[in-house]
Amino acid sequence: MQSDWSIRGRLFGLWLLMLLLVSVAVYLTTSAVVERSLQTGQDRNLKPVALIILDSVVNSDQGIDFDLPYQAFEVLAYSAPERIFYRVTLGERNLAGYDDVPADLQGSEPIVFQTHSYRGESTRFVTARKRVFSDSDLEVTVTVGQTRASYLTQAQQIANWIALAVLIAFACLAVWAEASLRHALKPVVGIAADLEVRKADDFSPIQARVPMEISRLVETLNRVFDQHRGLLAENRAFIAEATHQIKTPIAAIMTRSELLERELPETHRAEAHDLTVRARYASKLVTQLLLRASLTYRELVGAKEWIDLMALLQGIVRAMDPTAEAKEVAIHLHASESVPSLYADRVAIREAVICLLDNAIRHTPALTDVDVEVSIVSGKICIAILDRGPGFPSDDLDAVKLASEDGHVGLGLEIVNRVARSHNGELTISDRPDGGAKCVISLPVS
């Protein structure tokens, strides 16, 4: 069964999604934190400048006096290569610096930090204020500003490093996730591999230690194995028993009718012969039916092995010789070249060849030859059985099976066909140009 999804794939996908989300969140959070902390640093540089100016304010005859401390500005200038702005006001009146610097103060905070776009650049401003006259609400406000470009660049650089770190962590975690999933799924993969290599009739329980998540699956599998083993054994026993039970009485009938045929006066002999023929037919039918059942079982349990085809065929020919002899038919076995070992069910192949050979001997006229030829044609081992009989009514295997009136020919061919197919091969039938039938089982050299 082909499946288009895997647990590992899905879990890994979920992992990746989560990692991605976490990474994005980590990146956004940390870069925000970085920007904020850099901002705080800048504010810390700006604030003393404003406070020093504010602290230098003294009242004088004209109003107020104050210093613009070069050194404090110099310290600020050293902190970053940024533009610096300042402004000092008394009430609405501008006393010093850039008169367009935004110095609006809402609320009552003594120190306010603000970010404005000033002269085309994002600029951080600190504004400090205090009342200077005891008899008036007039306030001195001092605003000091510094552009933020280098802070922003630095924040961006740090964010980039964080992004790189997050990316590396992400990659490591992805690899780790893959590895841990692989590790976690190991028992499952192990069981699958175990099931794959075990023989079809091996129904022993799975012994591997499995995690509790899949222990129930394994238990169920083991139970199914158990049931299957029982069923198969039962089936096998049934076939053997049925064979024995049916064949024995048929054998008795056949033998007796044959004897009867010999003993009866010639006038009644035909009837006895008819009985023999029918008994033979019944016997053959039963044999083939049971053979079919038996082959099905063997196919199911997978009884293939490496076999020496020529030795097998020699054995078959020797075994069939008495049958052929009775009809004065000779069987010749040839091989055009050396035949490699074949991975096949020995019994199935033997029964198929016997079936074809039996057919051939029956249909070929007395004193003619039946040939068994083995050749290798385009990677396939071909076992051809040739006789000098009447041949087939058609080249079409299905038509032949249907047209066979006595049935057993058809059933036999069907068995042969089935054996060929179960070995990824095929059965072809044809008439020989100079008379006779040719049946070929072709099997791929595995």
């Binding site: 064949k247 054998a251 004193l367």
Partner: protein, 227 residues
């Protein structure tokens, strides 16, 4: 021949006994493994062939086969089986049986196999007739090459006998034909030619050839091109 028939189905056993006796054999019938063992212990020297069913009510025929093969006596064993479980056949041959038959079987086939099994366990007798490198035993109708039997089919054997009897003289086709099929039986016209052609390669390796004399018949001659 004396035959020990071990078969539990009474019906079948009766029919087989009857047939074997009709064809001139002496038959002892054992219905169980136990009975069969007793027969074997007492009479083993007498049997030429044992026809042995595998499935017996009190055990497998294979155990008896094993016992037979362990004894000194060399005897032909033909196994009978009704099982479709065809692996049995291999097992049977591996256990030392000479041949097997699947029930039900035609009587002719049974006869042929009994004959062949019996022949296999003959020892080369003293009183033989030497032809080329072959020895012919007229009593048991067997052909030997040194200590080994040469397996010839019945018709081929008959042909060989006829040619030997002609002792170097030409045997006519009609003579051979009547030898093969008897006078009353009418064989196919070309039967002699077919069997001659099948016999030729079997004899060739033993330094024998069948010479065709056109219009006259056939003659057995010795050649030098033996292997």
């Amino acid at each position: 021949m004396r035959i020990l028939l071990v078969e539990d189905t009474e019906d079948l056993a009766g029919a087989l006994q009857k047939h074997l006796r009709t064809t001139g054999h002496t038959v002892d019938w054992a219905q169980t493994l136990r009975a069969a063992r007793q027969f074997w212990v007492v009479e083993q020297a007498a049997y030429d062939v044992v026809v042995l069913d595998i499935e017996l009510p009190d055990g497998s025929g294979l155990t008896l086969l094993h016992q037979i093969r362990q004894s000194e006596r060399s005897v032909g064993v033909l196994m009978l089986t009704a099982r479709a479980d065809i692996e049995d056949k291999v097992q049977v041959l591996d256990s030392g049986a000479d041949d097997y038959l699947t029930k039900p079987c035609a009587l002719e086939e049974l006869d042929a196999r009994i004959r062949s099994v019996a022949r296999r366990h003959l020892t080369r007798p003293q009183n033989v007739r030497l032809v080329g490198r072959l020895a012919y035993d007229p009593t048991n109708r067997t052909v030997w090459a040194d200590e080994h039997q040469v397996q010839l089919r019945t018709q081929e054997l008959k042909l060989f006998e006829a040619l030997i009897e002609s002792s170097g003289w030409t045997a006519s086709k009609e003579q051979l034909q009547s030898h093969l099929y008897g006078l009353d039986q009418e064989g196919s016209n070309n039967a002699v030619e077919v069997h001659v052609s099948r016999l030729r390669p079997k004899l060739k390796r033993y330094g024998l050839a069948i010479q065709t004399l056109r219009g006259l018949g056939y003659r057995l001659i010795e050649t030098d091109d033996a292997e």
